[in-house]
Amino acid sequence: MQLDSKVPGGPLEEKWDKHRFELKLVNPANKRKFEVIVVGTGLAGASAAASLAELGYKVKVFCIQDTPRRAHSIAAQGGINAAKNYPGDGDSIWRLFYDTVKGGDFRAREANVYRLAQISNHIIDQCVAQGVPFAREYGGLLANRSFGGAQVSRTFYARGQTGQQLLIGAYSALMRQAASGRLEIFPRREMMDLVTKEGRARGIVVRNLISGRLESYSAHAVILATGGYGNAYFLSTNGMSSNVSAIWRAHKRGALFANPSFVQIHPTCIPVHGEYQSKLTLMSESLRNDARVWVPKKKGDSRPPGEIPESERDYYLERRYPSFGNLVPRDVASRNAKQQCDEGRGVGPTGYAVYLDLRDAIERDGSDVIKKKYGNLFQMYERITGEDPYNTPMMIYPAVHYVMGGLWVDYNLMSTIPGLFVLGEANFSDHGSNRLGASALMQGLADGYFIIPYTLGGYLAGTEFASLDENDSAFRDSVNSASEDIKRLLSIDGKRTVDDFHRKLGKILWERCGMARDQAGMLEAKGIIPELREEFWENVTIPGSSGELNQTLERAIRVADFLEFGELLVEDALSREESCGCHFNVACQTEDHEALRNDETGCYVSAWEFRGVGKTPVLHKEPLSFEFVELTQRSYK
């Protein structure tokens, strides 16, 4: 299979303009004849659905939660990047582009990233016009702050709730379109299958989570904006219902899956405290602007932090990376925390935590200033841990947070199935092998507000569509097969719970395909995941029936997909014989234990083709060429 990224020719700055001009247009009067399905209502899905309905398309929107406003974009804390250069500190579209390509360790497509940087400014304009209450300076103009991995202040924020405010903006646009009748919302639905006809994506089958019924919906194009699959690891900062199922099922229908092993492990999360733990909570990395990360110099030092004198503390990030210090990119910060703990200098009851200390900032700025900046984070920390961060340093440890991998898409955000578009975290995205802070919100909204409205039109205008409705045999087949799977799950009546299997899978992936990956561990994981999957299908127990709200069944369906997908994640990690960004292959490191890329063989996007459950998938490679930036070894020293 030849992967065509469809990146337009010409100078980098002109590609997107040129491409938009060349895309065919749908006549305004014809737009209402086209039906579009959007699955997922986070930043990418909600912004896409609202914008498409505004243009006049007939849009159907689906989400798992009871209302679109609860999608997990809502939990993003820190901010959203844009190249406005309001502070006049040297930012530009080019710098945002460059930082993003470099931060992603040179594993993203230049043209896509440049477009993202170009669009970033329009996003801020749009959100402000919607009434998003971004923080402002005393004069009433927009405030910016610097954020993990950047040396300019380009991050816009709304307290520690930027994702919430941006999502409410997109959600309100969505509600406005719902009121207009151009858009219909289907909450509490979970996608079970993608329906194709003559090779094109033409609809979906969903499970109504309240009635349990399988419902069919046809359309001229399908947009998946279903978020990331970090919950494959069981414990992550994702929402409980975040899953891989929608994109996995599209993958099984022919969409290639790109870079599945690129999983971002966020450095500043509240550490795990027990077996029963259901999720992990992020402490925004904006804290790293003021906090200092340290561990005791002595191994196994169990004194309370206040009793450890300055001379016996190791501020290891400042020591190792004098120019970036505590602001090194996420992958670097995470690996260093793991290394300190693995070497026995970790703190807290489990030894798997490091200190994130605001003592010096509180002394310097006063606790009022710090409270204004981080008060809500401190409150959240105190609720969860019962400790007061004003008096004692916070304890943090890395946790699975975001996935750069996802379905492969071309420059138009179309997957390898014509008519299937993938936006936001669900696609393999513009972040290469490591995403910089405050870039996910930017990408989700760029995809939804400013890219898909153009590229979808180009596809619809240039395509002849066969007539199709929900009675077509393609829908019946999908409904039958989903219904069979559900029956089979309910009939197993085994001895282990769904969460029990999920936890096991998570542990396998975390230990063998997490922050540091070695050949032996990955091979081991590749062997035991299929065994676990087999046991799941023989020994899981799910009470209740399929014809009602059955939350255990919902989870079982998702875990069944994670158990198939987990194998691909490991396969991908094994196949990449280098370290890059989040993918740290212990065989490939510099003398200083930094990730060592292999640009001779590693400059590619992996794109996997499904060949059947338990069968070896086929690896296709999209070569990445760098015309505009020079490939360098990242250095944050």
Binding site: P133, G140, Q164, S172, I210, T281, R383
Partner: protein, 254 residues
Amino acid sequence: MSETINLTLKVWRQKGPEEKGGIRTYEARDISTDMSFLEMIDVVNERLVLEGIEPIAFDHDCREGICGMCGAVVNGIAHGPQKGTTLCQLHMRHFQDGDTIVIEPFRARAFRLIKDLVVDRSAFDKIIQAGGYVSVNTGQAQEANTIPIAPDKVELAMDAAACIGCGACVAACPNASAMLFTGTKISHLALLPQGKAEASARALSMLKTMDEMGFGNCSNETECEAVCPKEISITNIARFNREFLKAAIVSSEK
């Protein structure tokens, strides 16, 4: 440090909207005080599943207090005893060994019960559809710094916009009124220049929809403010009333 406690749960179980519901009693054993309330229910549910009993259905998602999906009435208080805290952020260290905890769904005429602790809050979406937005299409926006907005105004707007739409305010109100929920959206947008153009139409339309959805009127009980997990002030209701009055006096569509 964490310790473990034993609790008795009295939980509202109801198979479906049309079926009769009732309180069932379950023992929650060896609960770590570091657990969140929902993790405690997870533990009880794991045991129920292994015993072949249908687990307690409850809504939840982000488990970090921001998505607004979780919520139940715990010992008579929406989201439980800790002020300014969603149920998912309530931790078991606030309970004592041997406690009995009564858990019921959010009840209101406008919130139809679906199953156990799960209720239908889609009426909130309908209220937002009635005008909880600024009418700006994608691409129509002007340069973001064109209109300066005083930071204290933005702070007030942000206080209102922090609403997570959980419905605790409705559940706590003796009239099951949605004035605080609706008031936050009216306030958020009326405080900002972007929202001014539509302020009158918005106030009239959202209030009308609120009534149509079956929410009651406000009689200043202030129970909503007391249970709001985001500690949103009832001054937002005052602002709503002001906006409504302004609109009702000058509007042509009385």
